[in-house]
């Protein structure tokens, strides 16, 4: 009995840093490698400005999530949905959420594997890399939320300290006059670019998963704000450096400007002459954290909706789904199409991120206090 007592306490005690690290690490993922091209293509040297606006918008969305949580006493998402919309409709909404998250993360995995194949492993079959990555993720997902947050905390340091080291090294070679001119674009360009930048910020839904278990709930909005600020600043720095290294013209052509920027690093006299291999290794971690957090989140939803005993079962269900979706696009052009241009995907995104929380808030206000307790 005592052992369970200790374990249960861990489940409720996610500290401030845990929350901060989880949000930061779940958001920063594959997007930052491909989006700069699209954004710079549309708005040129104002890319950093669009990023800033994106950050503000995302913070508002996150605030929405926080309000939903607060109104519903920080319960589990599935419970909130089912309390407010009834068992069946709430379940449907939850499943939509899960499916959307899995879809996006599987496509992200495909993109990730494509980049790995191109730069690191030219001949290894995609299926193999996919399998290995999914299995590694499953190993973590079979634990508890506490394990996931601990993993995030350590990954945070491993990811961002070398990232900032790379930034410092790139700054030496960058030409910051490339950031001019400012505000030399049509407003519609800004609007079109924002679609791509918002994709980079995907992953905020992880807050639904984590907030119920946070130790210091009153502080959590402050921590959320800090983590969004951190991520936004990180992205802005990346945009600025890309513009500084390549001008607008070159950035439009490069498929993955971030990687090309790192390839152009030249630090004379070190053991490693060209860094892209090593940096790719770090980048694996960037993607992996996003993947595993979203995977866990979807697994939780599936478990709660179908009242399965354990997340182990739901993760086994999700594994083949991720694999199949990742293999679905035939090539990279189709992949980008699916991610950005198909209307159902866009509509679902808007629904999930914006409409659903607002709906919940409206319904909660109407319903009053009709919640049920969840025994953990």
């Amino acid at each position: 009995m005592e052992v369970k007592g200790i374990i249960m306490r861990d489940k409720e005690m996610i500290g401030d840093f845990g929350l901060f690290a989880t949000i930061a690490v779940a958001i920063v993922g594959v997007g930052i490698f491909s989006s700069p091209r699209e954004v710079i293509d549309k708005v040129g040297s104002d890319a950093w400005l669009v990023t800033l606006i994106g950050g503000i918008v995302v913070f508002l969305l996150l605030y929405l999530i926080y309000m939903v949580m607060k109104k519903n006493d920080f319960e589990d998402l599935t419970n909130i949905l089912q309390n407010n919309f009834g068992k069946y409709l709430g379940g449907v909404f939850a499943i939509i959420f899960a499916i959307y998250s899995i879809f996006i993360v599987s496509l992200g995995m495909r993109e990730f594997v494509e980049v790995i194949r191109q730069y690191l492993l030219r001949q290894t079959p995609t299926e193999f890399i996919l399998m290995v990555t999914i299995l590694t993720g499953t190993y973590l997902v079979r634990g508890e939320i506490g394990d996931l947050v601990k993993f995030n905390e350590i990954s945070f340091w491993i990811m961002f300290i070398p990232a900032f080291a790379v930034f410092i090294l790139t700054v030496i070679n960058a030409d910051f006059t490339n950031l001019l001119p400012v505000l030399n674009n049509k407003p519609s360009d800004y609007f079109r670019a924002s679609r791509y930048i918002l994709f980079c910020f995907g992953g905020i839904e992880i807050a639904y998963l984590i907030l119920p278990y946070v130790k210091n709930k009153k502080n959590s909005i402050g921590v959320l704000r800090k983590s969004i600020i951190f991520v936004t600043i990180f992205y802005i720095i990346v945009m600025i450096l890309i513009l500084g290294m390549f001008s607008k013209a070159q950035s439009k052509i490069l498929l993955w400007p971030t990687i090309s920027m790192i390839k152009s690093l030249d630090i004379p006299g070190t053991f490693i002459e060209r860094w892209e291999g090593v940096v790719m290794a770090f980048w694996i971690l960037f993607y992996f954290t996003t993947f595993v957090n979203t995977y866990f989140f979807s697994g939780e939803i599936v478990k709660n909706v179908f009242k399965l005993k354990d997340i182990k079962l739901s993760s086994l269900l999700l594994m083949p789904i991720i694999y199949v979706i990742a293999l679905y696009p035939d090539n990279i052009a189709e992949l980008y199409n699916l991610q950005f241009k198909t209307t159902p995907v866009l509509l679902t995104a808007i629904f999930v991120f914006a409409l659903l929380p607002i709906l919940i808030l409206l319904v909660s206000r109407g319903k009053g206090r009709g919640k049920s307790k969840d025994e953990i």
Binding site: L121, L180, P181, S247, Q250, R274
Partner: protein, 391 residues
Amino acid sequence: MKFKKILPVILSCFLLSGCWDKVEIDRRNFISTIAVDPGEDIGKEKELKSINPEEPFAERQIKKINVTYGFPDMSMLSSGKSGSAQEKYINTEAYSMEDAASEAMAKSSRNVYLGHTKLLILSSNLLEYKDTVKEIIDYLQRNPSINRMMQVVVSDGKAEDYIKFKPTTENSTQYYISGLMENSKKNSRIMDINLNEFLILLSENGNALLPRITLDKEKNELLLTGAAIIKDYELKGYFTPLELLDIQLLSGKFNMGKKVIYMEGHPVDYIIDGYERKVKVEEESGKLAINIDIKLEGQLGGYYVDKKALEKDELQKLQNTFNKSISEECEKIMETAKGEFEIDPFGIREYIEKFKPSLWNRIEKDWNEKYKNASVKVTVSTKMRRIGAVQ
């Protein structure tokens, strides 16, 4: 628990099927230099246009380009020695760069590896064929494993000869040329450009300046002689090293160098080590007025034994003379560049785009015309801070 037992079985299946990307390092052929020449069939562009895209067996023996790959001979090295070996080469004829690479693999006992290539030589003959050049540039941009820090030069004549050349101080051409380029930091008569910068310049407007190398067959020397002007993917002309120095001055990429004037028959050397450049562009009555302000700092290199540089107005006189001489040279160069060649290696366009966006929006459409007819004024102010060890 069952999961843990199935897992090793699944993984061992993959293990047994082999490690796909593994190539042992001693099976690799490290290509250090690529030289591209035009092939026999390069004039047959019309014939190529008549090929139906859906026709089978499109890969025919069209020898559009002649590519030579130079590499150090690894079998000469044995355990214990390192670094320097004799250079060998593989010569292939193909219809594209990608094809050339696969031809080379067929001719080499080892795995051709382009990840450590340091030098790309483009023949001046090749640069007369715009379409082929564009194809080559696309290959260089698209290939992810090519070393973007490799240096690019234009060769006078056949590039193949340059790979076969055996310099006296180094083992291979590539070392020799990169050594020369290193010196460019001390002597701005040479510019060095790497593939990354080259591609960026080209992607903006198809214009670039590439260093040029010439082979002196009698004296068996390989020299860097100025720069080749690429406009719109074609070779238009050359700049001599002296002109190149001025261009570096004007474009803001100057490092160190020297200038000379003749006073009373004696050459006066001025070694420049400090440098600042300011650009101003205004529009006056429909024409662009470009003003470049250059500030130089340096020391007196060589004068004449009987003359004393410390005398009162002596230095001032020297400085004024330098001012006039350098600014006239620069203005001439600018006129040539924009009038004759219609290129802008000075960064004027970038300046306008960045710092005067409203002006740029107005003249963007007529940029070429405006640029050609712009008036140019270069003001130089030199300072001789030091005069060496004697008076």
